[in-house]
């Protein structure tokens, strides 16, 4: 088991430049006469190279927030800047990893990974090498010419991560990417993601409903309330990196978990 992780120098947030700046971000769904407020006045800044997670119960609008940042959903009010530019539609700086791998069954793993390159009309031959390198990094090199149905769930999701990375985006938007995996595979994928992140130095915006997963992975955790979705608090996770699974059993980890649990219980309430 790959317990020991590659050294990951924590980005000094003070010196890093802001990548996402959201101010007064609101999202209202209008349905006929009634309207539902999904997100209410979100203010947050995410810095270059940071790993930030969003936790909240289902219905707190965290997936809506991710879709807005991906440019897939228009927002109602406020401003969002991505890399200093106002967000208008899907940006080439951002790549999305969905909850399900969304691999096309008629394409091999390598062809799937190169799909964003084709969509963006970039030369495929130029990205082939880096795609193979990324597949090698995630242990999928031997599966490049296989079809998705020949892969396990964890391998499929790794291929989906490689597909996001191949465009070399600044920002990785991950929408509960390991939610559909079993607990053991999920832990493995968390370690894997840490390793990929420490090597590629991408900014990661990670949606999850698992408090432990959020703390384990993140530099900062955004706790969200339910209906309307608001930011309850943003907590710095000051745990040394590289982290391995044993960090979950430490007191500090437990205190973070307790604090987040209290935040989520106070706002919205677990029934």
């Amino acid at each position: 088991m790959k317990q020991v992780l590659a050294a990951a120098p924590q980005a000094s947030i003070a010196s890093a430049s802001p990548l996402i700046v959201a101010r007064g971000l609101c999202k209202t769904y209008a349905a006929g006469d009634s309207s539902t407020v999904a997100l209410k006045e979100l203010d947050f800044t995410i810095y270059d190279g940071e790993f930030v997670s969003v936790v909240g119960q289902s219905g707190c609008g965290k997936s809506t927030l991710l879709k807005i940042l991906a440019g897939l959903l228009p927002f109602t009010a406020g401003t969002v800047q991505l890399n200093g530019v106002p967000l208008r539609g899907p940006s080439k700086e951002a790549a999305v990893v969905f909850q399900s791998p969304v691999l096309l069954p008629w394409r091999t793993v390598l062809e799937n990974v190169l799909l964003p390159i084709e969509f963006r009309r970039l030369p495929r031959s130029q990205y082939r090498e880096s795609a193979l390198d990324l597949l090698a990094m995630t242990g999928l090199r031997d599966f490049a010419d296989r079809y998705p149905y020949e892969l396990s769930g964890g391998m499929q999701q790794r291929a989906a991560i490689v597909r996001a990375l191949v465009q070399d985006p600044k920002l990785l938007l991950m929408d509960e990417p390991f939610g559909a995996l079993d607990a053991m595979t999920r832990e493995q994928m968390n370690l894997e993601l840490m390793r990929i992140w420490s090597r590629s130095r991408k900014t990661v915006f990670f949606i999850t409903h698992s408090i432990a997963e959020a703390i384990f992975l993140s530099d900062r955790v955004i706790a969200m309330t339910t209906r309307p979705g608001r930011i309850a608090d943003i907590i710095d996770i000051d745990l040394p990196r590289p982290r391995d699974l044993s960090v979950i059993n430490t007191d500090r980890f437990g205190r973070y978990a307790a604090r987040l649990r209290t935040l989520l219980d106070a706002h919205g309430g677990l029934s």
């Binding site: 879709k67 991906a70 440019g71 897939l72 539609g89 899907p90 080439k92 951002a94 790549a95 999305v96 969905f98 399900s100 969304v102 096309l104 069954p105 008629w106 799909l115 964003p116 084709e118 969509f119 963006r120 079809y147 149905y149 465009q167």
Partner: protein, 285 residues
Amino acid sequence: MTMQAEASAEVFSAQVRETKPGLFRRYPQLTISPAILVILLAGWWLTCHVFGAPSYVVPAPEDVWRALINGLARAPWDSGGYWFHAGITVWEALLGFIIGSAAGAVLGFALSHWPLLGRSWYPYIVGFQSLPKVALAPLMVVWFGFGLEGKVFITAVITFFPVLVNAMAGYQSVEPDRIELARSCNASEWHLLTKIIFPSCMPFLFAGLSVASVLAILGAVVGEFVGAKSGLGMLLMQYDQQMELAPLFAVILLLALIGFSMNHAIGLLERRYCFWAQRAAAART
């Protein structure tokens, strides 16, 4: 208590133990299927020779076989043989199938892609679909005469609907995640169609083509019934009027064989181009 548990565990393991399936279970198509054919042929033979069914009601199998051999022994350009007429019927069916299913696929995608178009045309499509298309056959003699065009027309109309309906069902069942993936990568509308939507629809499209391939022969034969100078359907009518049941049966066998081959060809194409999917939807007509 423990004894009981042990005993039941033993029964359980006995049930679970793998047994090697027999020859019949493993290759039913090579063992049981031919056996069924032999039984059917024997039944047929008995009906004619033991139970004494008259040959103008049920021809004997050997007479049918002789008629088939005689018909197939002629040259393809000899209008007295089967090859000539089968060729014409297959040609009509094939042309009609290609035109009808191509139109069905294109229109199906168009109606789904532009929802306003789809919603406004839908009632007419449903109305026309519930019409027995065979009823149009007499009309087509008026419009197209006794030549090839009429048969191609009726075949095209019959094969059009299963493909149209399946293309629409396919379009509507494309996973939304796949579309979001494309949009998140700034995919153009054209790329979205060619790289996501069309391939996603393939299993549905093949289900429609599979139904259409069988209906194509039906269309051609019905077209020939109404009025034709050649073709297997015309032969059927001719033998029927002359009460020649042995060659009539031979032609029916030929038609079954042609329908089976066309359907099989579609199956092969599906396995080639749609290997990644089980047939997604039951065929709907």
